[in-house]
């Protein structure tokens, strides 16, 4: 009941919907960066929406099936091959023992997922099977997948009916809500955030996405007394270049928080690649 890793994916980690019970002790929420896509492909297979999936960044790995199983590739483009034949994303694929699954690099978004019927066996940490690389906790031995790893699949013996999750789409516009220090920023800053397009910096990762082309004046003090932060928060460090905290981001921070991305848009935001232009807008025509 396993899948062998013939070639390691880029940043291949097991993720579910993450954990909330460790935030008071500094344990990040973690979980799939594109939770909507993970939920959708799980639901196609009859898994619970938050079942463990394999998340891979841009370049997927190469895998050999040691068992007959059903899989779904989670992507917004076709990027996978079974025994060198093109396969469709977001469709149930039957994999036979000995079949080889390969990926080509993604062109239009950042993360590609692999879900299997029944889900993967993974280690639990603070109530979730999501990998947290920083402390080597949860998921597959707390680390990214390597060549030679054997991924165990759970049996789907008591398959229940789970509703099919909504099919997600990529987005180019992202809704913002005010965050705690919103009132400390000038009108000019609040307008600047939505007036121009932005890009994602190259060094963005599961902890945070840095924004390019937006430079804010910031608040008068420039810092705050350390306080709890959430994924999707736009923090503004003294450089004036906002950082968006993502799934593996810290639970507390000391930079002023101007806005938070609507939870409904955060999955699509996580899929952004560098060198593309995107835009924010304020929710409810917020009067700044």
């Amino acid at each position: 009941m396993s899948i062998a890793v013939l070639k390691a994916p880029m940043h291949g980690t097991f993720q579910d919907f993450g954990r909330l019970i460790g935030v008071a002790q500094g344990v990040p929420i973690c979980g799939a960066m594109d939770k909507k896509l993970a939920a959708f492909i799980n639901s196609l297979l009859g898994n619970t929406h938050n079942e463990v999936v394999l998340e891979q960044a841009v370049i997927g790995g190469e895998f050999e099936f040691r068992v007959k199983t059903q899989i779904v590739i989670g992507a917004y483009e076709n990027c996978a091959f079974l025994n060198n034949d093109n396969i469709n994303s977001c469709e149930i694929i039957q994999a036979e023992k000995g079949d080889v699954l390969k990926f080509k690099p993604l062109k239009t978004h950042r993360f590609v997922y692999l879900a299997v019927a029944g889900g993967f066996e993974a280690e639990q940490f603070f109530g979730s099977r999501s990998t947290y690389l920083f402390t080597n906790s949860g998921g597959f031995k707390g680390r990214a997948l390597k060549r030679g790893d054997e991924l165990m699949i759970k049996s789907q013996k008591d398959k229940k009916y789970h509703s099919i999750a909504e099919r997600p789409t990529l987005k180019a516009k992202f809704k913002l809500h005010p965050a705690p220090e919103f009132e400390h920023f000038t009108k000019v800053d609040k307008a600047a955030l939505v007036a121009n397009t932005f890009e994602i910096e190259n060094d963005s990762n599961r902890m945070g996405f840095r924004l390019k082309n937006i430079e804010l004046k910031g608040t008068a003090s420039g810092n705050i007394i350390s306080s709890g932060v959430l994924p999707g928060t736009l923090q503004v460090p003294p450089s004036g270049k906002p950082i968006v905290l993502m799934a593996d981001g810290p639970c507390t921070g000391g930079y002023p928080r101007i806005a938070i991305i609507d939870n409904d848009d955060l999955s699509a935001f996580a899929q952004l690649l560098p060198n593309e232009k995107h835009q924010f807008y304020w929710a409810n025509d917020y009067n700044y």
Partner: protein, 227 residues
């Protein structure tokens, strides 16, 4: 008395006046302990900090006005009647682990025995946890031990290293890069865990000096002194 600030559709920030001090901390702790018990009422998670609480909730059940009412109720509760427990953490201050001993003695103009004595004397208050899992923000460092962080941070600081930076002292819960002045090391595991002893905001911490021989003893744990 307190302010509720919006933080997206599923959270708010409750903030209290007064900045970083034990009195504000006790208020935060009281409200934190109240909200921890509100899971069935739609509260999904709470992050306590120095003078604020970030409260996450299900927007179908909870809204900022309700949080305001709940906070007022929490302030009237008697959760702050529970006295803090004291956690004793063994620390070895031997040369081998006190990587910045020479610089530290020079900066403070104190001899090593005095430094160890001043560092192990107070009961430090865990104001909050965060930055990384298991990292304690401690208050109560003797001002004579105030030394600024290293000009060049280390790329790797060993798990359990005990350090000082300005008004703060603390322990690196696992190996990470860092710029604190390292004066000792503990063999106790401070990584947060669901079973066993884990440090929480509101605890009191006391460092207990141990010899190198005691430091190498396996399976060391935090000792709890109940008030």
């Amino acid at each position: 008395m307190f302010q509720i600030k919006p933080y997206g559709p599923n959270a708010v920030l409750i903030s209290f006046p007064g900045g970083i001090n034990p009195k504000t901390h006790r208020t935060v702790k009281k409200v934190y302990q109240y909200f921890q018990k509100q899971a069935t009422n739609g509260i999904t998670a709470v992050i306590p900090a120095y003078d604020s609480l970030t409260v996450m909730y299900l927007h179908q059940k909870v809204n900022p006005d309700l949080i305001s009412e709940m906070t007022a109720e929490a302030l009237l509760s008697n959760y702050d009647q529970i006295p803090a427990r004291i956690l004793k953490i063994p620390v070895c201050y031997a040369d081998k682990h006190a990587l910045d001993k020479i610089d530290f003695m020079q900066a403070t103009q104190l001899n090593w025995d005095d430094i160890v004595q001043l560092h192990t004397q107070p009961q430090y208050l865990v104001y909050m946890m965060g930055f990384v899992p298991g990292f304690m923000y401690l208050g109560g460092l003797n001002h004579k031990l105030k030394v600024s962080r290293k000009s060049v941070p280390r790329l790797k600081v060993a798990k359990g290293s005990v350090g000082i930076a300005n008004e703060q002292t603390g322990v690196y819960p696992f190996e990470i890069p860092g710029g604190w002045q390292i004066i000792g090391r503990t063999a106790v595991d401070l990584m947060p865990q669901l079973k066993g002893i884990a440090v929480e905001m509101g605890d009191s911490i006391q460092f207990v000096p141990v010899t190198e021989k005691q430091f190498t003893k396996p399976n060391q744990t935090i000792k709890i002194v109940q008030p």
